[in-house]
Amino acid sequence: MSSPAILTPTESQRTPPSLVALLPGVALLFGIGIAGKLLQGALTLLHARYPHVFIPRIEYVLLAILLGLAVGNTVGVSERFRPGVATYELWLKLGIVLVGARFLLQDVLHIGGLSLLLVAVELALSLSVMTLLGRIFKLPPKLTSLLAIGSSICGVTAIMAAQGAIEPEEEDTSTAIAAILTLGAIALVTFPAIGHLLHMSQQGYGVWAGLAVDNTAESLVTGALYGQDAGRWAILVKTARSSFIGFVVLGYAVYWSSRGLAPGVQHKGLFLWQKFPKFILGFMAISVLATAGFFTTGQITSLSNLANWAFLPAFAGVGLRTNLRDLTGQGLRPLIVGILGEVFIACVTLALVYWSYSHGVAR
């Protein structure tokens, strides 16, 4: 792997950072996110004041990512800020839990049920296609497994979950992570453009982004770049997709263990529970409370606002952790396999979404 800065397992055995150690990085995340929001306000103001001058109208989501990219790829994220910047995942999950208030249970069951069906199709196709491409391009078998797991479920989280289960070479893990992050960065640019080109609805586009974009953070951002509603639907579908993580990782663990190349799985039920993304339960709990009328309309708006505040540092984190040098320095073959596989998955899931909406399966 190109990046020498990647933590080795020995380094990652360190004790968790204290709350004080998290502060600089958290402040950086919020600072960049708020700067993005202020910049959007400034651009809107300038646009209103000088209507004849071309001033681009850019959403804060994109501005926060661009600012994060600029900081991360110029001055870089120093050691002091890293523990706090890594909390972007916490803010992302907190936002997802809170946004549950915007979903009535019947929506969750309807779209969640539909997306489970679509996810099942997407899973079967992406696992087979990635495995086939990995063989054609003669990638190491465990790297192929990691790319298949990452592209079918939820990107980096799934790869990290599989790491302990199938024991790949460390370099394979790093390459798979870099390839998935590269593909996520490409999706941020291409998906909204395709969505606008095809005049997709907010819901249809959100379902597509949730199905086809691998990392939860990138999936949310890809959705939010198209619109706030699209972001919400992307979260719902992505959450349904993430719930499969345990089953897929378990399948691969059993496969590699049967070949004597990974430790055996003693308690499969416990394994599934350990790999299950538990923040989904928080999302469901808030959704149930909202459906039961526990919150007033004003309180649901307040919770939605808090979710947006939680997503703000997560957007900045996506920009900060994207290293443009890593995106090009990971070796060509894994990236080609990833791109070919992802283009295939994006096309198939787009066709599935269109089919669902044109046949009234989704509404």
């Binding site: 004003g298 939605s304 606002n305």
Partner: protein, 43 residues
């Protein structure tokens, strides 16, 4: 930088369990808003 941050966050996740912290924080904020202890913060 991409991967190290991911590794760190996963490391944090394995020790502290980010999912449970997110759920606890989310439910606590929901309760504070429900009982009008936390004012609405515009976005």
């Amino acid at each position: 930088m991409a991967a190290p941050l991911e590794h760190t966050s996963s490391h944090l996740g394995s020790r502290i369990n980010i999912d449970l912290v997110a759920i606890a924080l989310g439910l606590a904020l929901a309760a504070l808003i429900r009982f009008n202890i936390l004012p609405s913060i515009p976005f």
